[in-house]
């Protein structure tokens, strides 16, 4: 996983609450078996509308998504994060995220920054007022900066550390492999097994 410390780029306002993962990527795209190349699937249904923000030239090449509350609710599909990442997004700002979506983001190097609702509104008006205005999300400092406006965001320490270090989950866990083996030795006989014991 690539290290993430600071994201600077064009920001797109998605002025809606409850953007669920079905909207971020419709189920039809879940059929793919690859882990990349999902950029065409992002907000597929909404992008059929020529007025949808992502279709506006001023937001081309955007790296930051600024969304209403409860972003990424619903289905656990990690494809939602891959689609955002493949499209070029490196950070998403919202006042509240779906739990599974937030977890998935941290594992894929997408920075899910929790920003107060009134600050989200402020950022929306700033980026809408000035085309080309860049937003900087600084993970070291935990701040979002847009022009003269700057505010703090929340992200849990563990996810922040992993993003900063670019750490892979499995490798981290396997450092405790001896403890896993020890735990397995204590498992009661009644616990489920899908196969006959070897």
């Amino acid at each position: 996983m690539e290290k993430v410390s600071r994201v600077t780029g064009i920001a797109v306002p998605i002025k809606q609450s409850n953007v669920d993962t079905d909207s971020i990527i419709p189920a039809e795209f879940l059929k793919r078996v690859t882990k990349t190349g999902f950029e065409d699937a992002l907000f597929y249904a909404w992008r059929q509308n020529p007025d949808f923000v992502l279709n506006q030239p001023r937001y081309a090449g955007a790296k930051v998504l600024v969304a209403g509350p409860d972003f990424g609710t619903g289905s656990s599909r990690e494809h939602a994060v891959w689609a955002l990442r493949d499209y070029g997004f490196r950070a998403v700002l919202s006042s509240r995220f779906g739990d599974i979506f937030r977890g998935n983001s941290g594992k894929q190097g997408l920075l899910a920054a929790q920003v107060a609702e009134e600050d989200i509104q402020r950022i929306w008006s700033l980026i809408e007022a000035t085309p080309g205005l860049e937003v900087t999300v600084d993970l070291e400092a935990r701040t979002v900066t847009v022009g003269d406006f700057s505010t703090a965001f929340e992200i849990d320490d563990y996810t922040r550390w992993r993003l900063l270090e670019g750490l892979d989950d499995i490798g981290l866990t396997l450092r405790d492999e001896a403890k896993i083996t020890e735990f397995e030795a204590t498992r009661a006989g009644w616990r489920p097994r899908t196969l006959p014991v070897k």
Binding site: K31, T34, S75, S76, H79, D169, T194
Partner: protein, 491 residues
């Protein structure tokens, strides 16, 4: 949640805390997550291919094949299952699962196999889902398994890879919320109506960060099928999981199933399971109360599962909603659903009735629907799809003659799978079509692009199929009476 080790006096623990504590491999320090052992890993074709790809890339094996089981469900067709899957992409995904299962040595129940079915129907049916265990699956409705008093979590594909490789997950402790449902349900009101009412009350974000424990006399008197319906939709309230404490109903359901413990193991297990219910002096982080005796058959009008009302009510007016985000969301939902505020829910005509999905496709659900349909015909200009949750449920239903009831009624009786719950297979609704569905999600386009979904119980689905408009079994008594009057049998 892991509250036990910091205070001088140790307070009682909740069910969720007990299960958590018993699976702690490494306690997280300094705000790091705990490392939790996973007893059972369920796998299906949609969220696993990339996880196996990851293992392959890193040269890692599956750590515990004996705790892992896979089935095909999301993409499987529900007709002509002996033919090759027509849709190339669906076929590719299923073939990827088959290849991965063969390569890694994982147990897989493929289309046509007697144990094939929706992953959340198959686990309990085999007796693999049991109290006091941790269950994960790359699917948000894994919460279903919490009905047994298991900690059951939906996970993403990276986490699927993590569990395949390590049989553990790094997890942050959750908060606990008690959902107390007291009183007796009126006839015609079911577990589905309870959970739709709970979500309407606490909203789709209300459970965020919580494990919900459903408690109270109304929950205690539910069958395992009903408890699964409730826990299934915990995720629609934003919760990480839902649980019901195990009791005699749980043990009776499990005993004798293929993977249930046997002999001394069964005795040990039951003894342990009896220690799991929440202690009297335990404290929940939040509590919600609901009076079951006041509930009516429930139905959604909008595009998230929290946008629901009793069937006797009308489509709400967004202008009455004070929260601006909620109001905007309601306006948008009504536009998408093509509904006008003030319309009586019962006047809404539907084109399709879908009975199925991991929420309501177990034998009890099919029996309930069949009881309503028996001796009736479906309304004209409406199609009815009945899709059992697993191949075994299908067989069981056929042994009871339910398939004949459905066919006589005019319904399509299909093979097992997720089907129209999300329309990854050819079972979809057309743009603009309106569906009364026993599934769990009414999101825009969920059942097919431009399709409109009303979430309902199997009883409401069946009554709706008879009348052609959203209806509850309560309306049916009138209909039966009306018919009888028309036939001159009563005056």
């Amino acid at each position: 949640m892991s509250s036990s080790d910091n205070g001088a006096h140790r307070r009682g623990r909740t069910l969720a805390e007990k299960v958590w504590d018993d699976h702690l491999v490494v306690k997280g320090e300094d705000g790091n997550p705990d490392l939790i052992y996973i007893d059972l890993h369920l796998v299906h074709e949609v969220t696993s291919p990339q996880a196996f790809d990851g293992l392959r890339q890193a040269g890692r094996p599956v750590r515990r094949l004996d705790l892992t089981i896979a089935t095909e469900d999301h993409n499987t067709p529900t007709v002509n299952i002996d033919k090759p899957i027509a849709d190339l992409v669906s076929r590719t995904q299923i073939e990827a699962l088959r290849t991965n299962a063969a390569e890694f040595g994982m147990r897989l129940h493929s289309l046509g196999d007697i144990e094939q079915g929706i992953v959340h129907v198959v686990g309990p049916q085999l007796g693999l889902t049991m109290p006091g265990i941790t269950v994960v699956c790359g699917d948000s409705h894994t919460s279903t398994h919490g009905a047994f008093g298991a900690m059951a979590l939906g996970i993403g594909t990276s986490e699927v890879e993590h569990v395949l490789a390590t049989q553990t997950l790094p997890l942050k402790p959750f908060k606990t919320m008690a959902i107390n449902v007291e009183g007796a349900l009126r006839p015609g009101v079911t577990a589905k109506d309870i959970i739709l009412a709970v979500i309407a009350k606490i909203t789709t974000g209300g459970g965020q960060g919580y494990v919900l424990e459903y408690r109270g006399s109304a929950i205690r008197s539910l069958s395992m099928e009903g408890r699964m319906t409730i826990c299934n939709m915990s995720i629609e309230a934003g919760a990480r999981a839902g649980m019901v404490a195990p009791d005699q109903i749980t043990f009776d359901y499990l005993e004798g199933r293929p993977h249930a413990p046997q002999g001394q193991d069964w005795v040990d297990a039951v003894e342990y399971w009896k220690t799991l219910p929440t202690d009297d002096d335990a404290v929940f982080d939040a509590e919600v109360f609901l009076d079951a005796s006041e509930l009516e058959p429930f139905v959604t009008w909008g595009t998230n599962p929290g946008q629901g009302v009793s069937l006797s009510e009308t489509v709400p007016n967004p202008a009455d909603i004070t929260d601006p985000n909620e109001r905007a969301s309601a306006e948008r939902a009504l536009a998408y659903m093509d509904l006008e505020a003030g319309t009586r829910m019962k006047d809404i005509q539907v084109d399709t009735v879908f009975i199925g999905s991991c929420t309501n496709s177990r034998i009890e659900d099919l029996r309930a629907a069949a009881d309503i349909m028996r001796g009736h015909k479906k309304a004209d200009n409406l199609r009815v799809l009945v899709v059992p949750g697993s191949a075994r449920v299908r067989l069981e239903a056929e042994a009871e003659g339910l398939d004949q009831v459905f066919k006589d009624f005019g319904a399509d009786w299909r093979f097992a799978g997720c089907s129209m719950c999300l329309g990854m297979n050819p079972d979809q609704i057309a743009p603009g079509e309106r569906c009364a569905s026993t599934s769990n999600r009414n999101f825009e386009g969920r059942q097919g692009k431009g399709g409109r979904t009303h979430l309902v119980s199997p009883l409401v689905a069946a009554a709706t199929a008879i009348r052609g408009t959203l209806s509850s079994p309560w309306d049916l008594e009138n209909l039966v009476a009306d018919e009888a009057i028309a036939n001159g049998a009563v005056n």
